[in-house]
């Protein structure tokens, strides 16, 4: 547990929760990133402007953090480009089919005590954990 960072996890999680509350309280929308992004793909679902603004905000939030000199200044991808490309495809397809991602199901759906979202979270944490175990400990690692 030497890598556990409880303070930044609490602070970051609170900011994300607050972001979700702002969006629902002001615009009536769920802060599901995959759903918001999917609405921008052609043919658009309309209301492109607020969707775009939300995604620009996501990128901008990262930019504010870096500009203010947050402790994390570099991120590490240890996996091959092939795995990233396949991972992106599965994340997009799975979120589209399953109606949500870590934010939509994991934060917003859980906050609404949705049985669908709680089930989705249990399933994707399980398959993600199994995938990492297979890659790191069963297939290549020791």
């Amino acid at each position: 547990m030497e890598n556990f960072t409880p303070l930044s996890a609490l602070a970051g999680g609170a900011l994300m929760g607050l972001g979700a509350v702002v969006l629902l309280g002001l615009t009536g929308r769920i802060a599901g990133i995959s759903g918001i992004a999917a609405g921008l793909l052609p043919p658009g679902r309309g209301e492109a402007l607020w969707r775009l603004a939300f995604l620009v905000g996501l990128v901008g939030g990262g930019a504010i953090y870096r500009t203010l000199g947050g402790p994390l200044q570099a991120i590490q991808f240890s996996m091959s480009t092939f795995m990233i490309v396949v991972g992106g495809l599965l994340v997009g397809f799975g979120a589209g089919l399953g109606g949500g991602c870590t934010a939509g199901h994991g934060v917003c759906g859980v906050a609404r005590a949705s049985k669908r979202s709680l089930s989705a979270v249990a399933v994707f944490i399980l398959t993600a954990g199994l995938t990492v175990f297979l890659i790191r400990h069963a297939l290549w690692g020791g």
């Binding site: 991972g87 994340v91 589209g96 400990h137």
Partner: protein, 136 residues
């Protein structure tokens, strides 16, 4: 209209800042949680629980009002059943998440760290979303 766009921008900023502060933009950090057989890092679970807890309290306050401040009505998901699409979709999502260490939100917020991998991931993620929409 412009007020709604500004609200979405502020919401996105808070969410993206939260993803960076909690280090969830870093695939190495996410994989540290998913790898339960390694030196386990429970941070991601605390991030999710805190975000959902804050949203739970805030949602209750917000949903006790007749409508959102800047829109005529709330747009909440109407599906309630647990079907094959949900389970298969979530299972595939998890496999992709475990392969790349990124989810959609983290991928966007990670862009400013200047790694090409974030762009590759977002590109194929968009493709995957597109395929799923054609099936639905």
């Amino acid at each position: 209209m412009m007020a709604r766009v500004a609200a979405a921008l502020v919401s996105g900023l808070l969410f993206g800042l939260g993803l960076a502060v909690s280090q969830m933009v870093n695939p190495a950090k996410v994989l540290g949680f998913l790898d339960i057989a390694g030196p386990w890092d429970p941070s991601l679970a605390l991030v999710l629980a805190t975000a959902a807890g804050v949203a739970l309290i805030g949602y209750r306050a917000v949903l006790s009002r007749p409508k959102p401040a800047l829109a005529p009505a709330f747009s909440l998901p109407q599906e309630t059943g647990i079907d094959a699409k949900l389970v298969i979709g979530a299972a595939l999502f998890g496999i992709g998440w475990g392969l790349a260490g990124l989810d959609p939100g983290a991928a966007f917020a990670s862009l400013v760290f200047g790694q090409l991998e974030s762009l590759f991931f977002l590109g194929t993620m968009g493709l995957g979303l597109h395929f799923a929409r054609q099936m639905n």
